[in-house]
Symmetry: C2
DNA sequence: TATTCCCGGATTGTATACGATTTTCGCCTC
DNA sequence: GAGGCGAAAATCGTATACAATCCGGGAATA
């Protein structure tokens, strides 16, 4: 569930999701140019559809459209990085709290499977997929909280976090992640709302503190290889 | 500043703003069909631009696009109404608090002028404009809080509130509004952050409690008359 | 009269054509 | 070799054409 906003346009939605997933899995890096013809060729659609998808992504702030110059994968500034995590702390303490009071055994089971899969992906060296799954964990909690409006914001912020991590994450200890998620899961399962809230706060503070918020190095790459085409 | 998300498309942006303002001022009612040709004719642009604008508005959840059926001004459900005000309470307590610590004399002066204009519009019987200005007051506070990420969310929520009010507001005492705004202003001016926070909370709770959250009556109308065309 | 079916008009979905703008790159000058 | 200039190529912005879909109304039937 790598959801962006609601598009009516089914094909445009598919393209947007494809690009978003690639961004979440760090196959597309911040700053990369998204040429309309090229994207269209990759997904087998016309520029009309591609433009619709790019507009969708720009609303989610995953993409920046520069007039007459084209669309680029967004490069969140240091300031934006802080803002995103601050907003997440504000919103996700709420979702964690609410999810703890509402979580059903099925929800817990789902989250467990999520963590397992995240672990497996990480052990298999599929760091991109692991990263995406780790974001999905937060989105799942927002869904359980049963507040669609806030959940939509969280989805957006998690997506942007993925770009922030791509830009500012330089250390390699990605393991702490799943420990924090496991602790959160336990709190949710025991319906300890206040504890879940605190765990979420410290988890997000941890994440932010692990970032190296200095000017990022450039990391260009090719669009086609992100989608494994010749 | 009736801002929606960032569109590159300048013309599409203008159309989106025009429609959004009309929604804020209750000239376009929830459920109204937004025919692409008709909108295009009103703004003097082709359907390409209109579609872009409608997509923008659908991301802001001011418009719902039903595949193969067209775009309609959104009709927030009772549940959505509660969710929006709950999210606003969460986000705007933060913006109020932060704005109170940061507000400069210029900010205060701007807010004062805002309230005055709101008053004037209300006294002049321009309830639509008064309504929009009252929303802008909240957006201005979010701007002063200097947290662009949260401010963008607040803008969206304020815009949706306008639809909610159009649907569920049945009493006629719109006066309480500006009293609450005035009290808030005083707290901001005195840098009483905690007080500003509490005032904001109770203001939003008040607003929600003044709504009649029962199934709304239909209120159809014509698109062209919303823009005063023959 | 109520119901179903089918067709024509209206409206949306998508591709494509063409003008506008930017980018690239060879060439000239200094 | 650096820098500036200009034309060609690449790319984006918008309108329009055509296909796909939906909607409403009238005829046929029971």
């Amino acid at each position: 569930m790598t959801g962006i906003g609601i598009t009516s346009n089914q094909r445009g939605r598919n393209v947007a999701e494809g690009l978003a997933t690639a961004i979440h899995e760090h196959r597309l890096s911040p700053g990369m140019k998204l040429n309309e013809d090229e994207v269209g060729e990759i997904f087998g659609v016309s520029r009309t559809i591609v433009r619709s998808a790019l507009q969708t992504l720009s609303h989610a702030q995953l993409v920046v459209i520069e007039p007459n110059r084209g669309a680029f994968v967004a490069r969140p500034s240091i300031r934006e990085a802080r803002e995103v995590f601050e907003a997440r702390a504000l919103l996700e303490t709420r979702t964690a709290h609410s999810a703890a009071t509402r979580a059903t055994p099925e929800d817990i089971a789902l989250l467990k499977r999520h963590i397992d899969e995240e672990h497996r992906a990480f052990d298999a060296g599929e760091t991109g997929r692991a990263l995406r799954l780790s974001g999905d964990f937060h989105i799942e909690i927002a869904r359980i909280a049963n507040q669609a409006t806030i959940a939509a914001f969280v989805r957006q912020l998690v997506a942007r976090s993925s770009l922030i991590i791509a830009l500012y994450w330089r250390r390699r200890q990605a393991t702490c992640e799943s420990h924090a998620h496991h602790a959160l899961l336990k709190a949710l399962e025991a319906h300890e709302a206040d504890r879940a809230k605190e765990l979420m706060t410290s988890h997000l503070v941890d994440l932010l503190s692990l970032l190296d918020l200095t000017e990022p190095t450039d990391a260009p790459a090719s669009l086609k290889e992100a989608f494994r085409l010749p």
